[in-house]
């Protein structure tokens, strides 16, 4: 009976495990060419995505270690889709990579970690999921083995995340000491506004904040994003962040509900800081990955605004925004990854006059940036709008005003890139790139996502119907 449950409730995790096993077997077995491997893997990932939508179920497993419901399933599906897109986009980079299989094994195990984290019903599983989704990522960050920057990024990542997980653990241990349990549902009833619990909450919040790069816990982000291979950067910035955000929302809204007043104010403070600092740093970046890192920090600030709304709309808007953010950011990263892999250029100044040589890629990048900036009719507009509406629900219009004005700064730097692409002259523009099939598919998926998710309201309504409020 339990086995049956496991198969039904854990099907997404089991799918991933299966793929990891297949890859292991292939690795141990005979050599495949990279192309065929990539085809196989992408096919498997596609199956994985599709299977995620089948047979939705709801329930707990192993006590409170694992829970699932339609919202969690949806979140996992979102992550699955993102992973598939990243995998498609990384085609050019992975095609010549010697450790292709290992890369996928690591990536899928981090994804698995995220799934467990999203499904976790207690702090232990949450912590393990978090670590499972972090430690292999550090290794992945080093996958440009020849590049010093890559290992520097990996080093910074592992050291910072070890530090942050140390603090997180300390917080968890204190929470355990005051509540006597690791189970989310039981912790809630033990929470009072004692200083120690607030302190432990801050530590846990810092752990989350680290992963989603909230200022001042964000410093690793830019360095790691810049040094890592583009595939890893995009994975870090959308999938890893998205997963933690999902957990963050549900943990805040359910587990730490008694501390709502405290964390509401904290989120206010942090979101303002995050938006402002993210924007200010993004203003003057030249490396496009580093730039996207800071822009994604600012985006997280907006998400925090949405979270601070602490309502059903808050949850829905955050999930919705993450979905949009995945498509928009991956649209941008898709182009960046192609240019990086084929032309080896990663600076914004290299993108000058990009439109002359690569109109299609330019449009994709532009639309993706517009979506990130929140320009209609792209989905980003809807995402941001709803986040801010959710944030305003508490009546904190100062926060909304600050956020809205910061959107203007963010426009500046997004438009700066658009300006480079379209307007600046360049003697040596990036040459005309031939886009392989898979990245092309990925770009089209992103474009479709950017356009459709916003305008087609059913998606939001579906997410909303699954979300729970405060």
């Amino acid at each position: 009976m339990i086995l049956n449950d496991i198969f039904i409730l854990m099907k997404q995790e089991l799918m991933l495990l299966g793929i990891i096993m297949i890859l292991l077997i292939i690795k141990v077995g005979k050599d495949w060419s990279n192309e065929s491997l990539l085809n196989l893997i992408n096919a498997l990932l596609l199956i994985n995505v599709m299977s995620g939508f089948m047979m939705p179920a709801e329930g707990f497993l192993f006590g409170d270690m694992f829970k699932t419901n339609s919202l969690i399933t949806l979140e996992k599906n979102i992550l699955n889709i993102g992973t598939l897109i990243i995998s498609l986009q990384s085609y050019s980079w992975l095609k010549n990579h010697k450790h292709l299989i290992e890369f996928y094994i690591l990536m899928l195990s981090t994804l698995l970690g995220m799934f467990y984290m999203v499904s976790s019903g207690n702090l232990l599983m949450f912590y393990l999921g978090l670590e499972l989704s972090t430690i292999p990522l550090a290794a992945m960050a080093n996958f440009d083995l020849e590049k010093r920057k890559s290992s520097e990024a990996a080093l910074k990542f592992i050291i910072s995340s070890a530090f942050s997980s140390g603090l997180l653990l300390f917080g968890i241990s204190l929470l355990y000491g005051t509540a006597g349990t690791l189970s989310f549902t039981e912790i809630t009833s033990h929470l009072t506004n004692t200083p120690l619990q607030i302190f432990s909450f801050v530590l846990i919040l810092a752990g989350f904040s680290f992963k989603i790069s909230v200022v001042p816990f964000h410093f690793w982000t830019a360095d790691v994003y810049e040094g890592s291979p583009v595939a890893v950067t995009s994975y870090l910035s959308v999938i890893s962040k998205g997963a933690v955000l999902f957990v963050f929302v549900s943990v805040l809204y359910t587990v730490f509900k008694p501390l709502a007043e405290v964390w509401y104010n904290m989120l206010f403070l942090l979101s303002v800081l995050t938006i402002v600092i993210g924007n200010l740093f993004a203003l003057r970046q030249d490396n496009i990955k580093r730039f996207l890192a800071f822009s994604s920090i600012a985006q997280v600030g907006f998400i925090l605004v949405g979270i601070s709304g602490s309502s059903q709309m808050g949850t829905a808007s955050v999930i919705y925004f993450v979905l949009i953010y995945i498509f928009s950011n991956l649209g941008a990263f898709g182009v960046v990854s192609l240019v990086s892999a084929i032309a080896g250029k990663e600076n914004i100044s290299d993108y000058r006059a990009f439109y002359k040589t690569n109109p299609f890629l330019s449009w994709v990048l532009t639309i993706a940036l517009f979506s990130l900036a929140g320009v209609p009719p792209t989905a980003g507009f809807f995402g941001k709008f709803f986040l801010l509406i959710a944030g305003a629900e508490q009546g904190n219009y100062i926060l909304i005003a600050i956020a809205a004005l910061n959107m203007v700064i963010s426009f500046y730097y997004y438009l700066r890139i658009v300006k480079s692409i379209f307007m600046d002259p360049n003697e040596h523009p990036i040459e005309k790139l031939t886009i392989p099939m898979m990245p092309k598919i990925a770009l089209f998926i992103c474009l479709a996502g950017i356009v459709v998710i916003g305008l087609w309201s059913s998606i939001y309504e579906y997410i909303y119907s699954l979300s729970t409020g405060f």
């Binding site: 232990l124 912590y127 290794a139 920057k149 080093l155 968890i172 241990s173 204190l174 355990y176 040094g227």
Partner: protein, 104 residues
């Protein structure tokens, strides 16, 4: 045994935690930074065990958490050391201050 208050044990763990933190902040050698992290994790372990033993003896949550932390520490150390070694190959140094090519 009961005459040792729990807070004394927590004093040890907290102190150890901050000692580790101090090491983390000041050490310039990557490996010693790693060592500091081990100290931090150990202090957490002490916490878990102490809490479990003295406050919530019904379940073994704390004990298990400790076990898992220890294993994760191992995994983390393994990956970190691999990265450090890789880093060392290109940098020929394990001074963390020299790994600041990525900045601003």
């Amino acid at each position: 045994m009961n005459e040792i208050p729990l807070t004394h044990i927590l004093f040890v763990s907290t102190a150890l935690f901050f000692i580790g933190m101090y090491g983390f902040f000041t050490r310039r050698n990557m490996i010693t930074i790693l060592m500091s992290i081990e100290l931090i994790l150990n202090s957490v372990n002490i916490n878990f065990v102490a809490f479990n033993k003295y406050l919530f003896p019904q379940n073994l949550d704390g004990i298990f958490f400790t076990i898992f932390i220890i294993s994760i520490a191992a995994a983390e150390a393994a990956v970190a050391i691999a990265i450090i070694i890789n880093m060392y190959r290109s940098l020929h140094s394990v001074d963390v201050n020299e790994t600041s090519e990525l900045k601003f």
